[in-house]
């Protein structure tokens, strides 16, 4: 009887602790993670994994690669846990995580350019059979994203990054500056240049401004 009561008490304590973690801010969770609480880091992962996963997909055009990169982002975040920067408004770690993701994507692209063998490995990964229900949808996503990235890749790298953060991840200029580690003014100027280049690309392509014509095989 006593054991059961203690067990129940222990369970309720664990549940209360988990409830507290779930409602805590990123900064509070990070402090607990620094003190050695892996559960706190797990809550941060659950809170931001989807956003990081989709951001990585939009930078790579591959869901499987995005999944690997998401894990790498959090591993790297843990290793650099003392360098973390939170947003001023909501104490969110997400913009900093986007910055880590951008660096990983950049490094991966660099290494891909150096070694053609890396392409073979990636292709093999993409060809892995996956019989999940949403496979068709995911393949369509990847085709569409490849088309989008084909246009996107014609911009300079820093313009792509600022557009991805401000337009796709919907960060404010301040949060975007935090993610990139540059002043807010630099974000504004890069965004202006990206907009001008994008307009030139659209005008140069001679297409109407609608998704179907510019992106060709979209949809």
């Amino acid at each position: 009887m006593t054991l059961t009561a203690t067990g129940r008490h222990g369970n309720s304590e664990a549940r209360a602790d988990m409830d507290r973690l779930v409602t805590a801010s990123d900064q509070q969770l990070w402090q607990e993670a620094l003190a050695g609480s892996s559960a706190a880091f797990g809550v941060i992962f659950e809170r931001h994994a989807k956003a990081v996963y989709n951001f990585c997909f939009r930078r790579t055009g591959s869901w499987s690669l995005a999944e690997d990169l998401t894990s790498e982002v959090f591993l790297l975040a843990w290793r650099r846990r003392r360098d973390v920067v939170f947003t001023a408004e909501r104490s969110s770690v997400l913009p900093w995580l986007y910055g880590v993701a951008l660096n990983l994507v950049r490094n991966r692209r660099r290494s891909e350019r150096r070694a053609t063998a890396a392409f073979a490995r990636l292709d093999a990964k993409e060809a892995e059979a996956d019989f999940s229900d949403d496979l068709v949808g995911r393949l369509a996503d990847e085709r569409r994203m490849r088309d989008v990235l084909a246009v996107f890749d014609r911009l300079a790298a820093h313009e792509q990054e600022v557009l991805a953060l401000c337009a796709w991840a919907e960060l404010s200029y301040e949060d975007c500056a935090l993610a990139l580690g540059v002043p807010v003014g630099t974000v504004r100027s890069r965004l202006a240049r990206a907009r001008a280049h994008l307009a030139e690309l659209v005008a140069g392509s001679g297409h109407e401004r609608n998704g179907e014509s510019v992106l060709g095989t979209c949809g």
Binding site: K50, R58, S71, R144, R209, G211, L215
Partner: protein
């Protein structure tokens, strides 16, 4: 700007395939817990080395101070060549802990493992 970005509209967001998020989280947390344990171990070993380094440096400084006083005293009193040799030997003996402390300083207890290797080990 918005009409331009509509051209580059990415597909809508998706969750990871069923079970993958949990799998990734568990792998990550296993790695984090192992790292925390290893970190404590490393910190303990590092503290020991740091203590040894401080002890050796302190001992070296005290000995050098004493030898300096002895050299000054022997010169002032015009001591013989033999006693000077003894003093020089003392200087060498005093310098030994300082040299040893340099080896302790250069001992880095933290293993340097590339993130990709760590990730591959953690995630299989």
């Amino acid at each position: 700007m918005n009409d331009l970005l509509e051209l580059l509209m990415p597909p809508p967001e998706r969750d990871m395939p069923p079970g993958r998020l949990e799998l990734r989280r568990d792998s990550l947390l296993q790695w984090v817990e192992a790292d925390v344990r290893a970190g404590r171990h490393r910190t303990g070993r590092f503290a020991l080395l740091r203590g040894l380094r401080v002890w050796l440096l302190t001992a070296a400084l005290v000995l050098l101070l004493l030898v300096g006083v002895a050299v000054g005293a022997s010169r002032a009193s015009g001591a013989s060549t033999n006693s000077r040799a003894v003093v020089e030997a003392s200087v060498v003996a005093a310098a030994a802990p300082a040299v040893a402390s340099l080896f302790v300083v250069s001992a880095n207890p933290r293993p340097v493992v590339p993130i990709r290797v760590v990730a591959a080990r953690a995630l299989g």
